[in-house]
Symmetry: C2
Amino acid sequence: MPPKAKDKIKGKMKHKTKDKMKDNAMTLSPSDAADLMASWTRRARAVKPVMAVSSETDRNNALMAAAMLIHQHHDEIINANTRDVKAAQAAEMKAAFIDRLTLDHDRIEAMAKGLEDIAALPDPLGRVLDQWDRPNGLDISRVATPLGVLGVIYEARPNVTIDAAGLAVKSGNAVILRGGSSSIHTATVLAGLMRDGLIQHGLPADCVQLVDNTDRALVGAMLAATGAIDVIIPRGGKSLVERVQNDARVPVFAHLEGICHVYIDADADLDKARAISLNAKMRRVGICGAAETLLVDRAVAAEMLPAIAEDLMAAGCALRGDADSRALIPSADAAEDGDWSTEYLDAIISVRLVDGVKGAMAHIERYSSAHTETIITENTATAETFLTGVDSAIVMVNASTQFADGGEFGMGAEIGISTGRMHARGPVGADQLTSFKYVVRGNGQVRP
Amino acid sequence: MPPKAKDKIKGKMKHKTKDKMKDNAMTLSPSDAADLMASWTRRARAVKPVMAVSSETDRNNALMAAAMLIHQHHDEIINANTRDVKAAQAAEMKAAFIDRLTLDHDRIEAMAKGLEDIAALPDPLGRVLDQWDRPNGLDISRVATPLGVLGVIYEARPNVTIDAAGLAVKSGNAVILRGGSSSIHTATVLAGLMRDGLIQHGLPADCVQLVDNTDRALVGAMLAATGAIDVIIPRGGKSLVERVQNDARVPVFAHLEGICHVYIDADADLDKARAISLNAKMRRVGICGAAETLLVDRAVAAEMLPAIAEDLMAAGCALRGDADSRALIPSADAAEDGDWSTEYLDAIISVRLVDGVKGAMAHIERYSSAHTETIITENTATAETFLTGVDSAIVMVNASTQFADGGEFGMGAEIGISTGRMHARGPVGADQLTSFKYVVRGNGQVRP
């Protein structure tokens, strides 16, 4: 690393330590916060035209350079992270929180690898999404362009800094990162390395900016920065996402939660039904694509449910069933009304018998968070009814809901899974961080 | 028309007359307005799953039926419109407002023809936007779906009722229409005919709902209806659009204004430059795609600007130039700073000399409303620099900005031109009123 870049990081970290005293306090007035936020958004908007015409090679080289810098600055990253972790321990944060915050060798290598993977993706910019000619000779095409300025609001997870910045650079956007105060030392080092990677390849460092002031009023200022920030992407727990969704005046890519359903149809193959139910719930219980409710066609419940339930219980999963399903699996607890709307993120699943695919679809229409649902069936017509009629970001047949992931979709990396319907839906990768424009080529046409 | 449908329209009209007394007053409290608005959004959301699986044939037949009903109810439409026009005259509204409000035989036929054109468009739903296979055998496709519930807020223009409802039906969305109180009688008849067309083909009438209460608090309630309305589309003057943009918590497709630029490059063909400048400004001066600023490369200004200016002035256009351009066209008035940001919508154009394509792009970056810009040049490299570097919804080479129109683009009909970058950009037609979902087809895959 050149000495200059090193100084910059150190300088920033020193500055940070002072700010850290304020922690997550809210001391700025809304108008002061807005003025301060404008200093970041002005810089972000200034790099916008530069990034829009940047070459694919420069953007990819900057990502590869940042990956290399992460390798080279391994110890500095660990040191900064140790400060954050110690502060979190002193503040008696929960073990899961501290785990998410903590970096080790493998996690650092995974961040670098993530940037290399993003660099290897096809260029999301300049893609010709559509092209046609008009009778008057005009040639019209729809071409992918950067979205503009992204605002990412997140909590402790350090890898969000790298993932979000990497996807932003790839897609020619400027990004303003506002991480939690608990990971500020780690985020400062990581954002500094991303900026150094940009500088090394002649791209503007301000493509990646970290809000190095943890006053909470600045979150409000980001959410209100219409015209200056094009989209806000919240990454974190339900309360963060809800606050962003409620307060934002800027458009938001949000995902509130993943209440994902597995529906076992009368024409299901029992082996597939068992394997997929077990995997959808238990492979990892804490991810948004984990199943939370098992729906079983009443017609085959006696035949199929006991075996599926046995697999789940053997894996340590608790069952909460409606009265009809408990008649078949007596060891299950009784489900309450709230269970159908609960994202457990835990080894618990709610179980309900339904009347065929229509019954399953009605339950899903009412309780789903429109994230991911799967039907297990060998009947193609029933599958198509489900795939067409269920309005969720991802609908599946004979596959585990845990495939709901940008990497598993082949998108390389994702910044989250959107449950909204505007602009991006499902995994949000580099392509989803683009807009488009119409390019019209004529040879002198005037409109009659 | 069956007697039942006729009664319904009459019934609604009677109801309306009473409401009309309140005019545009704001008497409802925000919470009462929210409760009342929920009665429309609840009905809209209830038809959502039905419309999502409706057949293309039924939707097109409903549009054709509504077109036929418009022909058949010509006199009733004229009568209702006459009431609105008389009220507007009594309220001493401006002539341009009354002209926009007034329907005649040709305008009524054009509305019916518009519905027939929309019916003839390809189905926007179910389009496979992308498809790929994964190494594990999963087949993934991205398929177009309805967006959900549209809220359209507009002013006097009666045809917006038909255009918006027609595009909503075509794209399987439910629409809640809130027109201005000044066109309420006309809008009530037209919306009733759209609903009758839906009923005739077994589709839910509540796919098209008119807010038959002109209390202004209901506009606020629409703008705040997050989760119940998916997108708001304002159609009207700058102040309406600005209010919507400022107050909406629901995502908005908006277009604030069209400050469109024509740039005459050093390598322009003079004949094309003259024809396009004249057409871009003067074909119709009141549309958003009309040019408002002419930029001329300093290198050829002496050679080209006088002829272009002469054409414009001969057509009745006033010129407002910077000092350099006025040296070449002395009869032009002096442009003031505000001219570069003004959408005249009138026979006025601002003129400025710039230093080549970079100078033109810098001016556009600063003053454009990101609607439509065109470059006149025979130099392909210069054209590509402009097309790539200018971040507007529509960028053109050697074509008139007046082609910025969904019909001219071959989209059939449009509900406006979006100058935003989220979801829809440029002309918003039936395709742009869709979202998508991922459909994943497996044969028992579980995630490792």
